[in-house]
Symmetry: C2
Subunit: 141 residues, 2 copies
DNA sequence: ATTGTCTTGTTATGTTATTACATCAATTGC
DNA sequence: GCAATTGATGTAATAACATAACAAGACAAT
């Protein structure tokens, strides 16, 4: 999917996420945007839905929170989605429970193994979630 | 962790989950146990916490729901937790969005790759979530 | 019996997400 | 120009998921 120019609300939500160094819940985003005219959760959820669809934002299922995509094209094997944009395949997250920092990475072997399992069972995967909760190097020190 | 005998509430919750062929939310479990004297969410959540701790129940993060463990010791490489009981390491789930059936499996290679990533970054993993949402063979047919 | 620990019951509250409906703006076809 | 369509927005109400706080009961160890 090619991503069109962002609407006003989408831009506001994305900017908030990009400036944050930890995942934010939809309601936290809402609070941060009250001064910009946001009054209801739906304004946030609608923007998040689109941004997620564009691949610019990821939802962290184990946290019920959202992060701006931190995928680095350069340090990646080149796994892309069929979509346009900077899209990517399955991505994994390591989430520090101490400082909240999220590391986004891609592992081709992991993808491949999960694909193999799916193929062997005739399971048709649509979306895969991989999240490692733990403590980052800095916080563990 | 060795698992002690289950308490009354823990048994009731576990039985409900074991009889179900799809994941159940805490509130659905609550409804099913009204006739057994359950009146409040906390009665369910407390039991679920313990059952999860014992490794008898898993929480599906992408669904906010719970399943009884379907781990087959026999078809497993032998990855065990340090705990007693039938404990296991990281397990993956394939969840059919059509019929709700959940396939629980373990892939040693995947575990190993994620461990490698953690080690390389000095990240200390505590709990890993792997969930594949899609459509099962039966439903895709 | 007293203490400590674990489980339970109950009420209230907090947090996350969606439904329903009205409105507004940009685009397309005539 | 002027419908008709489509997509974005605003607002209120509600649903769904989860925890805090406190009281009371069960049970074992001393
Ligand atoms: Zn990304
Ligand atoms: Zn950290
Ligand atoms: Zn299991
Ligand atoms: Zn199915």
């Amino acid at each position: 999917m090619m991503q069109p120019a962002l609407t006003k609300n989408q831009s506001l939500v994305f900017d908030v996420l990009e400036r944050s160094d930890a995942p934010l819940s939809a309601y936290t985003i809402l609070d941060k945007l009250r001064d910009n005219g946001f009054r209801a959760p739906l304004q946030v959820y609608r923007a998040l839905d689109k941004l997620t669809e564009f691949g610019m934002v990821h939802r962290l299922e184990s946290l019920n929170a959202f992060v701006a995509c931190a995928h680095r094209e350069s340090e990646c094997c080149g796994a892309k989605s069929a979509h346009g944009g900077h899209g990517h395949g399955t991505v994994a997250f390591a989430i520090c429970d101490s400082c909240g920092h999220v590391f986004e990475f891609h592992d081709h072997t992991v993808d491949h193994r999960l694909d193999d399992w799916s193929k062997s069972k005739g399971f048709k995967p649509a979306k895969t979630t991989i999240e490692i909760r733990g403590v980052c190097a800095k916080c563990a020190a």
